[in-house]
Symmetry: C2
Subunit: 302 residues, 2 copies
């Protein structure tokens, strides 16, 4: 295990502990709903979005006054991003959407519980993400908290995840061009990746120079990540993925692989990762974690 | 038409105009999704929650420094509350939930569009509600905006609407007691009614004395409103309601009518409205709109 993978594993554990603490403080009036939310979000994911928040926050804190408190604050932001991500996966898996029975090798939420509970668990996880960011334990300055809320809302709404998922659904009846596929994927997946890095920068009180570099990094990474995802769907194995592969081909959907070919897609992903890492080159060792995370996100096998 | 109903109609129109303006400023990348959101929220509802926001905000502004700006700010908060309310109705109507084909005399969102679009439209309306509240056009002070976000998140999440809807679903397999029904309804419906009034008080910069009175008012009103709703389900006609009636009896679900009987339910609703109105008695004419709104909410026939 490299230093990076050990650190990411530690960060994933700490994020899970923070989520556990947050759930313990929630209302227990509807225990089945809380169970379904925990099931979806505490599922042993790799916590790439949490890693982005923490990496960006720690990098920012090396230059700002936030360093003393950074881990406790950034872990709350990471927990919020993971709640929003889990909500999107629950709703994407629903019968009316992608109709996926498994997720990360386990039953998806509507199979483990039922469809109504899964819809509500997603709904309540979205709400919880905003509630966590707005809480004064996340940052003492209300201006920072309201900026976090705005950043998450933009990544989650019409110009982001929800809008992108809508375009993806419509792509089942019409083949998108490469430019349209890029646009759709940047909304559906990239926006939340950029949001995670931006929120880390915000809570770490980054300078505007650093914010711009972190956003440039995350922008490249978001696209590289989606190309890698399409490559996995094309040539991964379903045991390693924990979900069925080859879905794009079965549904006749355009993907970076069908649009570019395998070789070009691999080259493009590698080049995007290089560019992402270069955006943070001036920060040297302080940015080592984020640079390693970019490589990891694209090399991942599950 | 009384002064009150004329004012409520004007307020409903202005809230619809504000929603229209907000949608015009949104990303148009996914036009079908925007259409579905508009369909659900711009549906000619009575805008009771908008009325609560505006009534509470104007009452608060009579005593605070917020009076000059109150209508433009409060209309944004009202629009956010109506987005959250519309989201909850879209998801409640889904086949996996209440499976309702009509809403206010029109096709419900998943019938007019399709199920996937309806799920996403609800998701995006929830996000939009938080985005509106966090925007600096809503209030110049980030502390007020973050308080609005927190108030809405609490009303929407596990301790509020989502938790209450979960308990309501579970009530189809087990008959609730009167105390459990009250608890469930306060979460499912009452929390957002109290939230609307509280958010109005916040944006109007109410004193803590007035906040307490407004919350006491809305608390009584929330319960009265739900009892009135159960009475309508029992003896309303489906043309006037714009949705099928008699659903509680058909599903064997406990309601205030089945638990209390019709006569007691009517007395209780009237007494709760009296108490709601009394909570605002010290504010005399400045609170006339909110007092009339309480009577209207319970007397309504659709």
């Amino acid at each position: 295990m490299t230093d990076f993978t050990a650190q990411l594993a530690t960060d994933a554990d700490q994020c899970a502990d923070m989520l556990d603490m947050i759930f313990n403080a929630q209302s227990m009036q509807a225990p089945r709903l809380v169970d379904a939310m925990r099931y979806a979000v505490l599922n042993g994911g790799k916590r790439m979005r949490a890693g982005l928040v923490l990496g960006a926050a720690r990098l920012a804190a090396t230059e700002s006054d936030a360093s003393t408190y950074i881990d406790s604050r950034a872990l709350r932001v990471a927990a919020a991003l993971e709640c929003l991500h889990a909500y999107s996966l629950i709703h994407d898996d629903l019968p009316a959407m992608d109709d996926a029975d498994t997720r990360r090798g386990k039953s998806s939420c509507h199979i483990a519980y039922d469809e109504a509970t899964a819809i509500l668990a997603g709904d309540a996880l979205q709400t919880l993400a905003f509630e966590i960011l707005a809480d004064d334990a996340t940052h003492p300055d209300p201006a920072v908290r309201v900026a976090l809320v705005t950043t998450l809302a933009r990544a989650s709404g019409l110009a982001g995840m929800a809008g992108g998922q809508m375009l993806d659904l419509q792509a089942e009846t019409r083949t998108l061009t490469l430019a349209e596929t890029e646009q759709m994927q940047m909304m559906k997946t990239g926006a939340l990746i950029v949001c995670a890095a931006s929120c880390g920068a915000l809570v770490g009180e980054a300078s505007s120079t650093l914010v711009n570099a972190i956003v440039a990094y995350a922008d490249k990474l978001g696209l590289a990540f989606q190309i890698a995802d399409d490559l996995l769907d094309y040539d991964g194995d379903s045991d390693g993925m924990g979900k069925p592969v080859g879905q794009d081909a079965i549904k006749g959907k355009a993907s970076f692989v069908t649009l570019m070919g395998v070789a070009k897609a691999k080259t493009e992903a590698t080049s995007l990762v290089d560019n992402a890492q270069m955006a943070l080159a001036p920060w040297q060792d302080a940015a080592a974690y984020l640079r390693a995370l970019a490589g990891f996100a694209v090399a991942r096998r599950s």
